[in-house]
Amino acid sequence: MKRLFLYLLTLTALLWYGCSGKGAEQRAEAPETNPKEILEQPETHGTEVKEVALSTPLDQAMVKKGSDIYDLKCMSCHKLTDEKLVGPGWKEVTKKRKPTWIINMITNVDMMLAEDAEAQKLLEQCLVRMPNQNITAEEARSVLEFMRKNDGEK
């Protein structure tokens, strides 16, 4: 039996040798789906916001909406004082940061943490990545209005 096995093995080896040197074929096709398609779905962050228009007096409907979003998605980590919880407190945030910075931090946190030095500093302090809370640019604008109210604007 053993001898027969060796016989087979030799045959196989011979064949193998005979075939070596032939260029291997690459896998013919890549998957059809573009990963970008997945990233562009509505549950993920939107594109960079470059301009934000502010108006006075405050839009009270937006303030209310922003307050509701705060309760649902922000309050766990951000206080309305200057005290840090998981992330920094919101007091004076509208004085320290530009409106576009705030909106992009809410809607484009991955981009901000990759590119923005101030955002990176905050990550070093807090050590928890600010989560994507699935907030649209329009909703983020309401959150900004609520922040302005929190900072005493009328």
Binding site: M1, L4, Y7, L8, L11, T12, L14, L15, G18, C19, K22, A24, E25, Q26, R27, A28, E29, A30, P31, E32, T33, P35, E37, I38, Q41, E43, T44, D71, L72, K73, M75, S76, C77, K79, L80, T81, E83, L85, V86, L127, V128, R129, P131, N132, Q133, N134, I135, N150
Partner: protein, 679 residues
């Protein structure tokens, strides 16, 4: 003898090998075991995606696994008919009703066949269906959440094997009973009265086009035989369904011998459009039955179980032209319809040929009444009148057939342990490759549909033996991937499977991955115990029940300190994951919980029931590494003796801010001031 066999193998290997060295691309590596470029063909580079999802039945583990092809990597296990320790399926209060049946809670079932939803006979990427065999059921799994959305039990059934094959537009999933049984409502009869009292029930389970919701539309009360497998017609044969059956001897004991007597059993052809007509004419009869219908709601994150009490039945004796038997040698197993719908391939487990039936000939034979008598009142068509032809000497023990979309079929042979490719029109064997060992089911992507995607065939083997590192008496189950893009089938890869790979389908990733659900939106969460934000967190006592409305976010629970629980209480932790980012689940465990743990997806609410067994302070924590401060995600519950006067209090962190207090002013109980200082 042995020497002769080995010599002939050697010759075969040699011949194949010479093929492999031919300079042209045609037929390269024909017959040899492993293609020279196999590694490149199955290599999916880090970060790249596979081409196909392979949705694989776990057989006796009652689950589905999701595998990538060509890499063979396992991505997920989807619990269906079995409790699952990884995510709390069947343990959490929300999912327990999914495993409810007319027999009560059944924690583990044997599942067999996968059917992916189709539109016009082609994959549409919406749902996967799978059968529960032991306690007969059909489940529908969402291909956007990869969760089991619905399970319906089947009355008047035993061994739901011939299931859940679907019609071309997913109008129905079928369930043919493997065990003929007396009707549930009158089942206390002698086993010896099989021929008089036992029926082979076939259920047609309707599927709502939009919601996917299932219902038993009608059951056919066919003669007492064993239904094995089935496929729907498509194209010209749409409107028909074909079921293989064995035990036409109608034996109730020692079937191994007693159900293998006849030269031919049957394939049952069902004109289901005709059945619908009879139903519309009022020929249906409602019968008493008891079966569970369980639905999981994505918005309430909860399942409900309803027990139904009657089922519509059709008696073939009152419905002429609805059923026909086609004789099929011998104890047929697979019963597969080619992509055009013209041919029905029977696979007699004990037969030396593969009979291929012609749908056109069948129609002619029906019109001309070319019958060979009847079986219990159902016309039996003449074998020769419906036969397209037989594949001669294909191998031993044919089981299943799939199609490559190029006019060819590939059939699995259990006994001779090989895959055999043959041409459907010409009935000629084109190629054969060995499998290691004893292949059962096989799968070509889109193989059972009107438009096979081809490219690969996967053999799901019944025996593993020496193919992997040994792990004691119990070995991994195994699958093998072959390239079928050329004339010859070429082995590319062995990969282990989860549970017994009891049939599978494969579908291009592009049809599925674009629909994948990433999070559950908090705004849409309608769970009765949701806490939408920390201001809604609270602890409520209702008699002996304590309901904790809890939230989790990286990385803390609210509340994380609870006092006032007493011995004899039942505590329900309703944990809402406030995260809205993809792939950020939180876990929850409490010491001594006799009901496992739970894993909560972003935006979801899930409930762990805990009945304290000891007085004292009990730790609880997050079980899924969620952030750099995951190890800090923990808390305490104080349990006091029954009758203790410790008040019910709770909280997280330091004194709430003025704003938070204002916001919580309406919430009834006062926030407990904290014992744990936050940094």
């Amino acid at each position: 003898m042995k020497t002769n066999i080995i010599n002939s193998i050697a010759v075969a290997v040699l011949a194949g090998g010479f093929f492999a060295c031919k300079p042209d691309n045609a037929g390269k590596n024909g017959g040899s075991e492993i293609a020279g470029d196999a590694a490149q063909k199955v290599y999916v580079a880090p970060g790249k995606h596979d081409e196909f999802y392979n949705i694989v039945s776990g057989g006796f583990n009652g689950q589905l696994s999701v595998v990538g092809l060509p890499s063979g990597r396992v991505f997920r296990i989807i619990p269906v008919f079995s409790q699952f320790a990884e995510n709390g399926w069947g343990y959490s209060e929300e999912t327990k009703p999914m495993l409810n049946t007319s027999h009560g809670f059944v924690p583990w079932d044997d599942s067999h066949h996968v059917a992916l939803s189709t539109t016009n006979g082609e994959h549409d990427g919406r749902w996967a269906f799978i059968n529960g065999n032991n306690t007969p059921r059909i489940a529908r799994v969402s291909l956007s959440t990869f969760r089991t959305d619905e399970i319906i039990e089947l009355p008047n059934s035993g061994g739901n094997h011939s299931s859940p094959f679907i019609t071309a537009n997913t109008e129905y999933a079928v369930a043919g009973t493997r065990f003929s049984v007396p009707p549930d409502a009158n089942a206390d009869v002698p086993i010896s009265s099989f021929k008089q009292n036992f029926k082979g029930y076939i259920s047609f389970v309707s599927i709502d086009k939009t919601t996917g919701h299932m219902g038993v539309k009608f059951q056919l009360k066919t003669p007492g035989v064993s239904f094995d497998l089935a496929r729907a017609g498509k194209g010209k044969s749409d409107g028909w369904f074909f079921f293989s059956c064995y035990n036409t001897e109608q034996a109730a004991s020692l079937l191994e011998v007693n159900a293998s007597q006849k030269d031919k059993d049957f394939i049952l052809a069902v004109n289901w459009k005709k059945a619908e007509e009879y139903l519309a004419q009022g020929k249906g009869k409602k019968e008493a039955a008891k079966y569970a219908h369980n639905i999981y709601d994505e918005k309430t994150h909860s399942a409900t179980s309803t027990i139904l009490t009657e089922v519509m039945t059709l008696d073939p004796k009152e419905c002429p032209g609805m059923l026909y038997f086609m004789p099929c040698p011998k104890s047929p197993h697979g019963c597969d319809v080619d992509p055009t719908g013209s041919y029905i391939v029977g696979s007699g487990k004990l037969a030396a040929v593969i009979p291929v039936f012609s749908f056109d000939k069948m129609q002619k034979a029906i019109a001309a009444k070319t019958f060979d008598g009847d079986f219990d009142g159902i016309p039996v068509l003449k074998y020769d009148a419906v036969l397209h032809g037989e594949v001669k000497k294909p191998g031993l023990g044919p089981l299943h057939t799939e199609f490559d979309g190029q006019g060819n079929a590939i059939t699995s042979f259990f006994v001779s342990s090989e895959l055999v490719k043959w041409n459907i029109e010409k009935l000629e064997v084109l190629d054969r490759v060995p499998t290691y060992y004893s292949v059962g089911h096989l799968c070509i992507p889109g193989g059972p549909t009107a438009k096979p995607h081809g490219k690969y065939v996967i053999a799901y083997n019944k025996i593993t033996k020496d193919r992997y590192l040994p792990t004691g008496p119990e070995l991994t189950q195994s699958a093998q991937l072959y390239d079928i893009s050329g004339d010859k089938m070429k082995l590319l890869l062995d990969f282990p499977t989860i549970g017994e790979p009891h049939y599978a389908e494969a579908i291009p990733a592009s049809l599925v991955e674009k629909n994948t659900k990433k999070i559950f939106k908090l705004e849409e969460n309608n769970h009765p115990y949701v806490a939408k934000g920390e201001k809604e967190t609270k602890v409520v006592r209702k008699g002996n029940e304590v309901h904790v409305y809890m939230t989790s976010i990286r990385s803390h629970f609210t509340p994380d300190n609870i006092e006032g629980v007493k011995m004899g209480d039942e505590v329900f932790f309703h944990v809402t994951n406030l995260e809205q980012d993809w792939d950020v689940p939180h876990g929850f465990a409490v010491r001594g919980a006799q009901n496992a743990e739970i894993l909560i997806m972003p935006g979801e609410t899930s409930t762990l029931r805990w009945k304290p067994t000891k007085v004292g302070v009990t730790p609880m924590y997050c079980t899924d590494f969620c952030s750099a401060l995951h190890q800090e995600m923990q808390g305490y519950v104080r349990v006091s003796p029954a009758g203790s006067s410790v008040p019910l209090t709770w909280g997280t962190g330091k004194t709430p801010t003025a704003e938070a207090e204002k916001k919580t002013a309406n919430a009834k109980p006062k926030l407990n001031t904290p014992k744990v200082a936050m940094k």
